[in-house]
């Protein structure tokens, strides 16, 4: 009891000392930085230009952030992230800081005095583009159209991410990558990026596009001729299906009328498939068309050849029976000669056994 009390007192003492010292160091540093940031924000923008209309929004937010910076009550976080000399008491300070951050997070995004506004702006953009892509991808999950549907969202996201990797914080000389991607264990940004990229790669979307030359360090996507051609054919088939869909009483009409476009589509798909891997849009659209064709309209023509197959099968399966019977009757058996072994005959020397 006594001991724990002492320990507690010790802790509290330490923390207060820390806070005091941090106030001295931290604030002085902080002041320098904020002034820097205000000055250099224009400069940082030059290297990066995403969508029109962003500019105004960002600057207005920035103003807001800078006011927040000076808000009192941020001391703990300052201590926590500035120098790292308080390792022993990280427990205490962490809880405190997370407590703080939850309060702030519920209202606005807390501007961290140690992340330069430029990088922070990129982070915000990244979040927006990621959410746009996720939203889009879910909307395009069924029927599957991720590649053609979310192409812009994907390229947007990748552009912002590239920017984070490339650009530098003009004041500190640290790159945004270092500040945003490599400072903690959770690595939210990196994992989100991985998720989006894996979704894109699992859909083999690259195959849908002609990837143009690099412009400003980013790839230029456009739907490839094959894709366009396929889409055109698929639309033709679906249109045909739709036209003949109404007369439910007379299903074979659909089969007759749409056979040509359907076969063309099927052949195109097969030929495309042989040359390369296809992106998921095409595969899925083909699958669903096929499904409609064979299950809904039951247009599939299959001829069985049971008699011939059965006859051959039975004939062939009987062969071994004849073979084995024949071999048993005809073949003379192998005869093995037994060798006589030379063994010691104890009767000659029965005495040995006594």
């Amino acid at each position: 009891m006594n001991v724990t009390f002492r320990v507690k007192i010790l802790h509290v003492l330490c923390v207060t000392v820390l806070i005091i010292s941090a106030c001295k160091y931290g604030f002085a540093e902080e002041f320098d930085r904020t002034s820097d940031k205000l000055g250099s924000s224009e400069e940082g923008d030059r290297g990066f230009d995403i969508l029109p209309g962003d500019e105004a929004e960002v600057t207005s937010q920035e103003m807001e952030e800078t006011t927040h910076v000076t808000t009192p009550g941020r001391e703990e976080q300052t201590v926590w992230s500035s120098k790292g000399f308080q390792v022993d008491h990280s427990n205490l300070t962490t809880t405190q800081s997370t407590y703080d951050s939850t309060i702030y997070a519920s209202t606005t995004i807390v501007p961290s005095p140690f992340i330069h506004s430029h990088c922070e702006r990129l982070l915000r953009k990244l979040g927006e583009s990621a959410s746009r892509f996720t939203h889009c991808s879910i909307l395009h999950a069924r029927p599957l159209g991720l590649c053609s549907g979310c192409m812009y969202e994907y390229t947007d996201f990748m552009k912002v991410f590239e920017a984070i990797i490339k650009e530098k914080d003009p004041t500190e000389g640290k790159s945004c990558e270092e500040v945003l991607l490599a400072s903690d264990m959770t690595q939210i940004v990196v994992k989100t990026h991985q998720f989006i990229q894996s979704l894109w790669e699992a859909s083999t979307c690259e195959q849908c596009f002609d990837i143009g030359p690099e412009v400003n360090g980013t790839l230029n996507y456009s739907l490839s001729n094959n894709t366009l051609h396929f889409q055109e054919m698929a639309n033709k088939t679906l249109l045909c299906f739709a036209q003949h869909n109404n007369d439910t009483s007379n299903l074979p009409d659909v089969c007759k009328a749409c056979k040509k476009p359907y076969d063309d589509l099927n052949n195109l798909y097969n030929s495309l498939k042989e040359t390369a891997k296809l992106c998921v849009d095409i595969v899925d659209s083909m699958n669903s068309t096929r499904y409609t064709w064979s299950h809904r309209f039951k247009c599939l023509k299959q001829e069985q050849d049971t008699v011939a197959v059965a006859a051959i099968a039975v004939g062939l399966c009987i062969l071994p029976v004849f073979f084995y019977i024949g071999s048993k009757i005809n073949v003379e058996k192998i005869e093995k000669k037994l060798l006589k072994q030379k063994r010691f005959r104890p009767l000659d020397s029965a005495g040995l056994f006594q």
């Binding site: 499904y291 023509k301 099968a313 399966c317 030379k342 009767l347 000659d348």
Partner: protein, 795 residues
């Protein structure tokens, strides 16, 4: 003698106990109905000592035979054509001289051992790659041709054409493979593991490590796998590795009459066998991507001659193989340097799927099932093989039989696909060539994915396809068909691995088991059916081949997941125990069918009561220290004493009927042949006609195919000359007292890898000689009983 032979066989020969002449052996419980002890154990001087009784399996012997019932199969015989390997060094004076001179060379020889192992590793991997690529190409060609026909014929109703085409292609491929084996090199048939097991045990199986065998094996296996038989290419890989090892280490090929004049000091049975064990390990490593499993395989099969340095070299060899195979295959599949192709058969990665502790009892249950079905497999295959040996032994009939099996295999595959209506939607294509057959557009037939690809790929599909990929009826039908086919196929005269068919069959019922469990008790979390497929595969394979530690490690390495070690081990353990109740492992059954005098791990349990006197061959042909050429030639020509070692004695006492002179040393047949060929006669020595004395390398030069005595030309005058055997004989070979027990003799033999063991009495007079066959003829009747049986010798 005759009174006993007519007597009803009773246990322990009770009706013979009155006979005072009964030797000790009859106090043991010996099975008499299957052996002619009376005819063989007693030597009757009135009869010529070499005689033959016509032995006809299944029928009555032509000559009056004392046997009441002739033995059913060759498993009850030992064949005289198998000889032992000289693992023991001959320490004669030449050897000692050479060893003294070679002191400095020892380091180089040691380095060369590593070099040879490296070469074995690389070459084995390359052979593996060749097999893999050829199978891949041939099967790909075949399946795409058939697929295009089937696709168009489904619409037009001409399915009989692709059917006939399929049957014809398979029959043709298999015919080619069978011709290679039946007319080329019959020893290349089957998986080759039994033969390698014999070789590592110390038996020289004729032709087993020849280059011709390798060629037949490699090309044969490619065609039998591409021909759709229920076979794998893994077992043959092990044999191939062994042949490569034997070839490389010798630096020459007698078949091609090429001698590279390198590695001459490795031209002895001892060195060759060490390298062969490395080659076998490399083969396992190439086949399954399991280097440690390979080392353990060699250890398990040839363990009696083992040392730490050799183990380390073998491991080096098998890792080299793994790495080389990986590199070359990654280049072939267009991803150089990726190292994702560890073996010919890899089970793929089981990532993220694990098992739960409460599933272990279920795995044990599967072990029991595997043991039972493995025992059934072995039983049926044994019967089929006996039939084959009796009636289907002519080469052309063997070829026709192989074609029959191929035809029926293709027929069953086609019909089952034709009948099956189990369709699944084409997602991201599950197999390389999904076959639509009677399924709707955009779907594939699941039966076709199993039948319409090489067995390796089917195994992978069963392990990894998501839970709902297979329907129960499809799987059951597939399992049953495959079990029958595999059972029928093994033992045909085509190179055929046993691993894949067993794994496939087991994976089938294992998956069924998994599906069943999750259906019956849906509330509990079960692991993926792929895990059950893996355990079923292990159980089936374990039940068939009954290997223990090496198989566990091989499977563990092939899955790349150590956490499966425990369930795999348990499953294999149970499967072996259950299977052993009924019969032996399939490899052992085949070794018995080949009548090979193999020595087991342990002497038969009741062997302590049998003495060396009963075991040994008795009047033994001996030579004197300075012997007449005529007498040596006579001894060598004597057809029944085709011993490879002759005791060298002082002048024997003519009156003594029991012993044959005081023991001085042992000389090998091969050395005698070289001596006569080089005409190292004393008389020529005196006249100075001999330019130089023989050295060890002169003996090694003739290795491994020494001339036959009949090929040597010796004039009548030369017959009168004499040879001094003293410098060439081994003056201090192992001997054993006549009172030693069979148990003791066996242990000595097995542990030292002996070929001859001279039996002497207390005065060091030669009583007899014990060879491998003398020991191997004592065998337990079955794994369950303690009864000994005694095997007959035949040609």
């Amino acid at each position: 003698m005759s009174s006993a032979s007519n007597g009803r066989p009773t246990d322990g020969g009770v009706d013979r106990t009155a006979d005072e002449k009964t030797p000790l052996l009859y106090n043991r419980r010996c099975r008499q109905e299957s052996i002619g002890i009376d005819n063989t154990i007693q030597f009757d001087p009135e009869e010529p000592d070499y005689d033959s009784v016509i032995y006809s399996p299944g029928g009555s012997p032509e000559k009056e035979s004392p046997q009441e019932k002739a033995t059913e199969d060759t498993a009850k015989l030992l064949s005289a054509k198998y000889e032992g390997l000289d693992y023991d060094l001959v320490e004669n004076s030449l050897f000692v001289k050479e060893a003294a001179a070679n002191n400095k060379k020892l380091i180089r020889i040691n380095i060369n051992r590593w070099v040879v192992m490296l070469m074995i590793g690389i070459l084995t991997a390359l052979v593996g790659v060749v097999i893999d690529i050829l199978v891949h190409q041939l099967a790909g060609l075949k399946y795409s041709l058939l697929k295009s026909w089937i696709d168009s014929c489904v619409e037009e109703g001409c399915l009989a054409i692709p059917f006939a085409l399929w049957v014809a292609i398979d029959a043709l491929f298999v015919c080619f493979a069978a011709i290679l084996v039946a007319y080329g090199e019959p020893v290349a048939a089957g998986s080759g593991i039994p033969q390698i097991k014999c070789y590592l045990n110390g038996v020289k199986v004729p032709h087993v490590v020849r280059i011709k065998t390798l060629i037949s094996k490699v090309i044969g296996v490619v065609f039998s796998v591409a021909g759709g038989l229920a076979v794998g290419k893994e077992g043959p890989m092990i044999h191939s590795g062994a042949v490569i090892a034997a070839g490389v280490s010798q630096g020459m090929s007698t078949t091609f009459k090429r001698d590279l004049k390198i590695f001459k000091y490795f031209r002895t049975d001892t060195e060759k066998r060490d390298f062969v064990s490395g080659g076998a390990a490399a083969g396992v490593s190439a086949a399954f991507g399991a280097p440690v499993g390979g080392v353990l395989f060699s250890l398990e099969e040839g363990a009696s001659f083992w040392n730490q340095a050799l183990t380390w070299r073998i491991f080096f060899c098998s890792v080299t193989t793994l790495f080389t195979l990986n590199i070359v295959l990654s280049v072939y599949f267009g991803r150089p340097g990726e190292l994702a192709y560890p073996g010919l058969l890899n089970f793929g990665r089981f990532t993220g799927v694990s098992y739960f502790w409460y599933e272990i009892p279920l795995f044990l249950l599967m072990g029991v099932a595997g043991g039972l079905s493995g025992a059934l497999f072995n039983f049926v295959n044994h019967k089929i093989c006996i039939f084959r040996m009796k009636y289907v032994y002519k080469p052309f009939m063997q070829v026709v039989e192989a074609m029959m099996v191929a035809i029926v295999t293709a027929t069953l595959a086609f019909v089952s696909i034709y009948v099956s209506r189990d369709c699944k939607p084409l997602g991201q294509d599950p197999s390389e060539k999904p076959l639509q057959f009677f399924c709707s557009d955009g779907e594939y037939s699941t039966m076709a994915t199993m039948m319409f690809q090489t067995p390796e790929q089917s195994v992978k599909s069963l392990f990894h396809d998501p839970p709902n990929s297979y329907n129960i009826v499809t799987l059951s039908v597939f399992c049953v068909i495959y079990f029958i086919l595999a059972c029928w196929t093994y033992g045909l005269s085509v190179p055929s691995g046993l691993f894949i068919p067993s794994l496939l069959c087991g994976a089938g019922w294992g998956r069924l088991f998994g599906i069943g469990v999750s259906h019956l008790v849906p509330n509990i979390a079960w692991s993926a059916p792929g895990i059950y497929a893996l355990m079923g595969a292990a159980a089936q394979l374990g039940g068939v081949v009954r290997m223990t530690i090496s198989l566990t490690v091989i499977l563990m390495e092939a899955t790349g997941n150590v956490s499966y070690g425990l369930p795999l081990m348990l499953v294999l353990l149970i499967a072996k125990w259950v299977g052993d109740i009924f019969n032996e492992g399939l490899y052992d059954i085949h070794i018995r069918l080949m009548s090979v005098p193999i020595l087991g791990w342990e002497p038969p349990a009741t062997s302590t009561t049998i003495s060396a006197r009963q075991v040994m061959s008795h009047p033994v042909t001996t030579l004197q220290q300075v012997e007449k050429v005529g007498r040596i030639v006579e001894a060598l020509k004597e057809p029944h004493s085709n011993h490879n070692g002759f005791p060298v004695v002082d002048v024997p006492d003519e009156t003594d009927q029991v012993t044959s002179g005081r023991f001085r040393g042992l000389i090998l047949r091969s050395h005698l042949l070289v001596l006569i060929k080089r005409k190292m006669f004393l008389e020529r020595g005196q006249t100075g006609a001999i330019r130089r004395n023989l050295e060890m390398k002169d003996f090694r030069e003739a290795y491994p195919r020494f001339p036959s005595i009949h090929e040597l030309n010796i004039s009548p005058e030369e017959m009168e000359c004499s040879i001094d055997l003293r410098p060439y004989m081994n003056p201090a070979p192992y001997t054993v007292s006549e009172d030693a027990s069979l148990h003791r003799v066996f242990r000595l033999f097995r542990a030292l890898g002996l070929r001859h063991l001279v039996v002497v009495n207390k005065d060091n007079l030669v009583m007899g000689i014990v060879t491998r066959k003398d020991l191997a003829r004592y065998r337990l009747v079955s794994l369950r009983s303690l009864d000994l049986e005694e095997l007959q010798m035949s040609h």
